[in-house]
Symmetry: C2
């Protein structure tokens, strides 16, 4: 069978060849047939907090359990506010419970809570009717890219466009879901560079260069992706940075896709998350904006529930309707995930039975993430051969630049791998640590990086960085002579 | 913003214009501003059992609650076998719990249970490594169609194909997810007709006609969809029907997509579900097969959890790897849904604490569905102006053919609607009943149908069919003179 060549071409490095190899080694370790120096795989490839020991937040899980099995509410073992909240959601299903499809956009009660959350955050009106609840932000991003991009000249209003292609501007480095979905839609990836030397900042000049170069080569640029806080860079944009980007998008008539799934994950003094929505409103911009959020990151780390949402701002009715239609064929996102999304957006309030516990648990998670980000930053800066100019500001990753000997680069070419993929593969074989090569995210030519999460338990960070430093020294040594 | 024209062109009638209008009327009813003869909307547009009063099965919900909130297992209120099962699944997450992404294909413990279920069903070996757990069967179907179809001449190995397009054969009538996804992938819909007069059967001659006509007009047919039991027809294929289809697919080198989500929903004497997998094995066929199943239908009716799976049979390694890669960018399907899938495939066994209750609950649901199917069939056959030659054999729908006066057809054309869409819209405005027009599924030229589910509570079926008969008589009368 001949596979869709776009599927063949698409890549998603976060679960790429290095991870596939890690799973093989894990099997080998389980069988006890390994003679390696390590006895477990340390998955640092993906922001999957619970897989690395982060505990779920009690309130969230209690409400979900009550919704899934309402008879538990009669057993007298759940806090009062948990029961109240579960009943509110069950009423929101019209009495059908969590086993029914909801309307396509998701439960109205949850969308209202999401809208109120954004209103409190931004001081700007939010419309529950412009929110769609999805199976994680990834699902929302996939749909929006499918809505925007096409490469079907025969259907394009009858106008033959020759070799013209549509494209989307994405940061370099970026989260590879974007490059993957653009390729699947037959579009062109148009990179704009974040400058590592200046805290991964983006300038208007660089946005213009990227846009004009793409346009000059026949690409119709339709949209611009921004990830804030950045993945993999962790960089947190200032309000003025965002203003610059919004103005640029409006002038160039680009739809903005704002990936804000790490909005709660800002760790350093003097940095604060500002939403694109707020800035668009402040500037009274007419730029079309789709913004994305998720329960998977932040402080809950509820990845497995697959919950997220997209808000559409300044998007005309007829376009939004098409997005709903595109979503409708998948009926609705999972109902428990929808409820988790509502809980993230409307946590217990002061005075509620669960408030203290919720506050303590989420605060502990935040402080621990903050300590890990700081510690990993310090350690990365001290490793010989790593360059890590600015500490991790936000998100859940470190993206150090690594120096690779010319002979290692040659060897990688022989093996038909990107040099940093070769590096990550060898790191895995020697230490059990799974990182993602920088080439999977995009990086400036002749630079090499890898991404690691900050998520291993605090007690393991010393060991992790020791292993990284030790591997780097010994492995690069082989290629020095 | 210019929307992807494929998205504009795609339609999904199950949640189309009639449903959108129903939601408006529902708002109107809630506001109390209605002067209509009815006071509620009866959603018969979609197989959503819990929305029409079907109760969840206790065992399923107890295990899910224990998985989502493991501390409940210490409260002494859950049956022993529920606790055992929950612990088994939690161990299967490697201790991460349900809050972590799983591997792309889903939890190995669940895939093993799915494989064992199919082995018991078919008496044929099933490989857990060829199963992917997904957010409902819809998600799996979407991915497989994206894997197979493309319309990107520029990438097609450099060979310009002119106006050639790829297509997939789907039954007429079909479930509109298929037509929708084919259009989104830029492919051609190639209908083959089910013959209403012969219990919606399909002949080899009709398959050949469809294939040759498409090929003759420049379509490269790549796959064949079969829905068994049928949606919307309810028809249950015999083993020899399936053999015929498998032979045809193998000879014509078509990939088979077997939608088997209604495999537990067979109601009439003398009909039995047989899987494509079993027949492919029996014939030692080399035909590539993707088969789909779901927790949303059957006896559980767990639609809101969004759980399903695809099994790939005879699919080469490299092709299966591409399907995994395509799935990987969405990370994994929701973990609770995966567990629900495992529970569906491995229900309590005789001797387990929950066995009796599980057996009674599921049996009650089955018997009730069977009674509703029989009753609705009888009633449909008695309505003047309806043609309903054979009783509902399986699935969850009736798809009667309706006679429409020529003037009603003219009026529909004036309103730019398909005649049966106009009919369904008027049915809604006058009775509150939401059905799906036959034109959304495909039907023989100059015939008109609608689909209703069999799901309203048994006590409501008399009223439902009374309203249908009454509306049909009065409404068609207007167009008689």
């Amino acid at each position: 069978m001949e596979v869709n060549p776009r599927v063949k071409k698409a890549e998603y490095a976060v679960r790429g060849r290095v991870v596939a190899r890690a799973q093989e080694i894990e099997e080998e370790l389980k069988r006890g047939s390994s003679t390696r120096k390590f006895d477990k795989i340390i998955y640092c490839n993906i922001g999957n907090p619970h897989a690395l020991g982060q505990k779920p937040v009690t309130f969230i899980r209690q409400v979900l359990a009550a919704c899934v099995c309402p008879s538990l509410m009669d057993a007298g073992i759940l806090p009062t506010d948990v029961v109240v909240r579960a009943k509110e959601y069950l009423a929101g299903t019209g009495g059908s419970g969590v086993g029914a499809y909801t309307e396509t956009a998701g439960l109205a009660v949850v969308r209202r809570q999401v809208a109120e959350f954004m209103e409190r955050r931004d001081g700007v009106k939010a419309d529950a009717k412009r929110i769609i609840l999805t199976n994680g932000a990834s699902d929302a991003i996939r749909r929006v890219i499918q809505l925007i991009l096409h490469d079907d000249v025969s259907m394009d209003g009858g106008v033959e466009r020759g070799h013209e292609r549509q494209g989307i501007m994405i940061p370099c480095p970026q989260y590879p879901l974007y490059s993957c979905q653009i390729v699947l839609s037959g579009g062109s990836i148009v990179y704009y560079e974040s400058d590592e030397a200046r805290e991964w900042g983006v300038t208007r000049a660089e946005l213009e260069r990227s846009f004009l170069e793409a346009t000059g080569s026949g690409v119709v640029v339709k949209a611009l992706v921004v990830i804030n806080p950045g993945n993999p860079t962790g960089a947190v944009l200032s309000e003025s940075d965002i203003e610059e980007i919004v103005r640029f998008a409006e002038e160039r008539k680009l739809v903005i896709l704002a990936d804000e799934v790490y909005q709660e994950n800002v760790y350093v003094e003097g940095k604060k998350f500002e939403s694109f929505k707020k800035v668009v409103a402040k500037l009274q911009s007419k730029a079309l904006l789709f913004s994305f959020h998720s329960t998977s990151k932040g402080l809950l780390g509820e990845c497995g529930i697959r919950a997220g949402y997209v808000e559409a701002v300044n998007v005309p009715d007829d376009v939004f309707k098409e997005l709903i239609k595109l979503s409708a064929s998948q009926l609705s996102s999972n109902t428990l995930g929808q409820i988790a999304c509502g809980l993230m957006c409307s946590p217990p309030r002061q005075g509620d039975t669960s408030f203290d516990l919720y506050h303590r648990e989420t605060q502990d998670i935040f402080e621990s993430l903050k300590r890990r980000a700081a510690k990993l930053s310090r350690k990365m800066q001290s490793i010989h051969g790593f360059s890590f100019p600015s500490p991790i500001q936000g998100a859940m990753y470190a993206f150090p630049s690594i120096k690779l000997p010319a002979k290692a680069v040659e060897e990688a070419e022989k093996r038909k791998m990107a040099p940093d993929e070769f590096y990550c593969m060898e790191l895995l074989e020697n230490t059990g640590i799974v990182c993602v090569p920088g080439s999977g995210f995009g990086q400036r030519k002749d630079t090499y990086h890898f991404r690691t999460t900050i998520l291993p338990p605090e007690s393991d960070i010393d060991n992790l960085t020791y292993l990284l430093a030790d591997f780097h020294t010994n492995w690069t040594q082989q290629f020095q002579h």
